[in-house]
């Protein structure tokens, strides 16, 4: 398959910013988005922190040009905002000029509204507003993005837990490489909900003081929310429009840990396989990777098994790595795309964003994350990991290229 895949547009909304510029500023200023829970009433208010997007549903709706948010879930509003920014930044004006598709990703879809529906429905099955449950399914948000942005040719949604949106990048890239689409908008969106908050709380993997990825005293993850979309284009459409390219998708791989429904295997077999597949597809040697944006949730289990898998692949020469989840929280279905965009920002601005909240290295590992902002560091190839429940492990490699490469 000779077709190359280029990133020509990015859009993001998360706890550290409502667009790419704001996110970059927060990353450069080492400003975390983790704070108190304000979006909904919950028993865990005051005890568990969260990384909320700093916009209400009404503010998101107004920003998108709707008078009220009523017809949309928060998940969909976030998705529409990020996808619109991605398309604008890619300079696409005519959606129908090329075969253009949309691949969304989410873990809980419209659960933020279903929770309200169920509270009434459980007291009486004839109660509960149907408008609160009609957009429950995972596809709803993707369809609303497609309708809002007039994306015409192909649509689907992926849900593989916390690796969902990296898998959207992979599948979209495959559709371009096989000539099935010319352009595809890929990414993910997830709002925080009481469902996920309580779910992760029952697993006892939420850090009460905010996540500390790759730290010896890490005590779990911090939930976040957001959306991120990337515009992927074929070599042909990029050349036709003489477009500026942000980065190239040069490798990716998905593998299954097949160890446990939620826990990672002690040796990180799935993580090892995913990174190995991505490297093999890109044709790069491990030594050519300049930075790894790790999954690094801050749970005991993930960071150990991911760390061991990294040491196994890179040996004594592990490249600089950091988890950016102490900035954004763990945004579940959006995480892979958010971190892919952060990786693109690293390539473009020649910086490595720090792994916040790190102080003590893990005793089982020889490696430690980058804990201070590193600037003026020329990066060529960045590896980004996303791992999820169901043993779902994905890695993607994004590469920098000079504009002269494509003509």
């Amino acid at each position: 398959m000779p077709e190359r895949v280029f990133i020509t547009g990015i859009g993001i909304v998360c706890a550290i910013g409502n667009n790419v510029g704001e996110v970059l500023n927060s990353l450069m200023a080492e400003r975390s988005g983790i704070g108190a829970i304000t979006l909904f009433p919950t028993l865990h208010q005051g005890t568990l922190p969260m990384a909320e997007v700093k916009m209400s549903n009404q503010e998101l709706a107004s920003d998108l040009g709707f008078s009220t948010p009523k017809a949309y879930t928060r998940t969909a509003l976030l998705g529409m905002k990020a996808a619109r920014e991605a398309i604008r930044s890619s300079g696409i004006t005519d959606m129908k000029a090329f075969r253009t598709g949309l691949i969304g990703a989410t873990t809980v879809g419209g659960m933020d509204r279903s929770e309200n529906f169920y509270a009434s429905f459980l007291t009486d099955p004839s109660k509960g507003k149907l408008a609160d449950v009609v957009n429950h399914d995972c596809a709803s948000g993707t369809e609303q993005i497609a309708a809002y942005l007039n994306i015409p040719d192909f649509i689907t949604t992926i849900s593989t837990a916390c690796s969902s949106s990296v898998n959207a990048i992979m599948f979209g890239s495959d559709l371009i490489r096989t000539g099935q689409l010319d352009r595809v908008i890929v990414g993910g969106h997830d709002a925080v909900t009481r469902f996920t908050l309580n779910g992760f709380n029952t697993l006892m993997i939420l850090d009460r003081s905010g996540c500390h990825p790759f730290d010896e005293n890490r005590a779990g993850l911090t939930l976040g929310e957001g959306a991120a979309y990337l515009v992927l284009e074929s070599e042909e459409t990029v050349a036709a429009a003489r477009k500026k390219v942000l980065a190239e998708v040069t490798g990716y791989g998905n593998a299954n840990d097949a160890y446990h429904q939620t826990a990672s295997s002690p040796d990180g077999k799935g993580a090892f396989l995913a990174m190995t597949k991505a490297l093999s597809m890109s044709g790069l040697a491990p030594s050519e990777i300049s930075y790894i944006n790790v999954h690094g949730t801050g749970t005991q289990n993930n960071d150990l098994s991911e760390g061991l898998a990294i040491e196994r692949i890179f040996g004594e020469n592990v490249p600089p790595f950091s988890s950016t989840k102490a900035f954004t929280g763990h945004t579940l279905g959006a995480a892979g795309a958010i971190e892919a965009i952060i990786s693109v920002l690293s390539l473009l601005h020649e910086v490595i964003f720090p792994n916040l909240n790190f102080s003590i290295p893990m005793k089982e590992l020889k490696i430690r994350p980058v804990s201070r902002l590193m600037t003026r560091i020329k990066l060529q190839h960045v590896l980004s990991n996303s791992f999820g429940f169901g043993g779902n492990n994905s890695s993607v490699i994004l590469s920098r290229l000079e504009n002269t490469d494509i003509q």
Binding site: M1, T42, L43, H44, T106, T107, G109, S114, E115, Y118, F121, L122, P125, S126, L130, V133, V134, D137, C138, A139, E143, A146, F154, I155, T156, T157, I158, S159, T160, A161, F171, D174, L175, R177, T178, Q180, R194, F195, N198, G199, N201, T202, L203, N254, A255, N256, D257, A258, Y259, H260, Q261, T262, K269, G270, L273, G388, F389, G390, G391, N392
Partner: protein, 364 residues
């Protein structure tokens, strides 16, 4: 270099009908007097360790059992009873693990966020079926789950075919699963999805009330680039599109789809459509035939499995059975007469005139 052909070398089904593998086709269909069809238990104990069965939601049990039935049908069962793992697992589900989602959501609301246990939350994740199959088969390969309403299974098929055509995998286990629960049935009843008066399911197409009948099921297929004695059919292509403006657009897309696969409308001996007894939905299929395939006979399948997001996976099973046996049972026919020699079958399904999909399947 021509793309490799994609063969269907086996199938496994858990559905409201008493048939579980390709070799069970044709079967004696069961009619139910209800507007909510439930799957027949295939004997889960044979496929899932006893200690796991108790905790698993129904969709997970259906998914795992149908996946293993499929592997057995495709010759993947080894002498010691274990299964050889495929290289990749790609699944689709419209609504995912509803039972576990509802269980966790309900106890969270009822108990005001206290005294919760993780099992139902863990299993509520949409990729639980694909994850559990991988876990039981020790399949470390590619593992994807698509969740796009009536495109969920079609997206999985497209992905599986892309794996094979690009040579990244030679054998992919792919399927579609959905379950219905008391709550989801009630909610969709309030939305007007189901017929008000109870009917005999096999008489679905003779009933003209608004709405259809609810269903569920799980259907898996072993897709491979390798033709062998077990190859039942060739999967030629799949395409999906949203919100067509008119029936002419659907016909145009249907003809173009066939044309791209070097097949002409008059080479199609049978069209299997998603007719579901709801006059508004069914008229879309009849107009499609009237305008684009006027002489072609039409079969239905939702009188056997009910309506659900991944029902088209059940249709693919029916089509596989027909092509491999060259038998079209009379109880499948909705329009026209049973064809005798069948080389090509077009499957056309839509949901509420929103998501539309075509699948072309051919004789080996």
């Amino acid at each position: 270099m021509a793309d490799p052909l994609v063969y269907i070398n086996g199938s496994g089904i858990v559905s409201p009908q008493p048939a579980f593998q390709t070799e069970n086709f044709p079967f004696e269909p069961v009619s139910y007097e209800t507007n909510r069809l439930k799957v027949i238990d295939p004997g889960y104990k044979e496929f899932i360790p006893a200690e796991m069965i108790r905790r698993m939601g129904r969709i997970i049990k259906m998914g795992v059992a149908s996946a293993k039935l499929c592997l057995r049908d495709a010759g993947f069962q080894l002498e010691d009873g274990s299964y050889r793992s495929p290289e990749a697992i790609v699944t689709g589900t419209g609504l995912g693990c509803l039972e576990d989602t509802e269980k966790f959501l309900s106890s969270m609301i009822t108990n005001k966020e206290e005294f919760l246990t993780p099992t139902s939350f863990i299993q509520s994740t949409h990729n639980t079926v694909a994850g559990q199959i991988a876990l039981l088969l020790k399949c470390h390969g590619y593992n994807f789950t698509f969740v796009h309403r009536a495109f969920s299974f079609e997206s999985a098929l497209l992905d599986a075919m892309t794996r094979i055509k690009t040579g990244t995998c030679t054998e992919v286990l792919t399927g579609g699963s959905d379950e219905i629960t008391n709550h989801s049935f009630t909610i969709m009843q309030r939305m007007g999805f189901w017929k008000r008066k109870t009917i005999q399911s096999l008489e679905l197409y003779q009933d003209h009330q608004r709405g259809t009948i609810a269903g569920e099921g799980s259907s898996f297929f072993l897709l491979t680039n390798e033709k062998n004695d077990l190859s039942r059919a060739v999967l030629s292509g799949v395409t999906t599109f949203l919100h067509p403006e008119s029936s002419s657009e659907v016909v145009h897309r249907g003809h173009r789809f066939l044309n791209n696969l070097t097949c002409q409308p008059n080479n199609i001996q049978l069209i299997i459509t998603g007719v579901n007894g709801n006059p508004q939905d069914d008229s879309v299929y009849h107009e499609f035939l009237d305008k684009g395939f006027s002489g072609t006979p039409m079969a239905g399948f939702k009188h056997l499995c009910g309506e659900y997001p991944t029902a088209s996976a059940f249709a693919l099973w029916i089509a596989t059975g027909i092509l491999s046996t060259q038998v079209v049972p009379p109880w499948l026919m909705v329009r026209g007469t049973q064809p005798e020699k069948i080389d090509n079958i077009l499957i056309y399904n839509h949901f509420k005139n929103q998501e539309h999909a075509f699948i072309l399947i051919r004789k080996v």
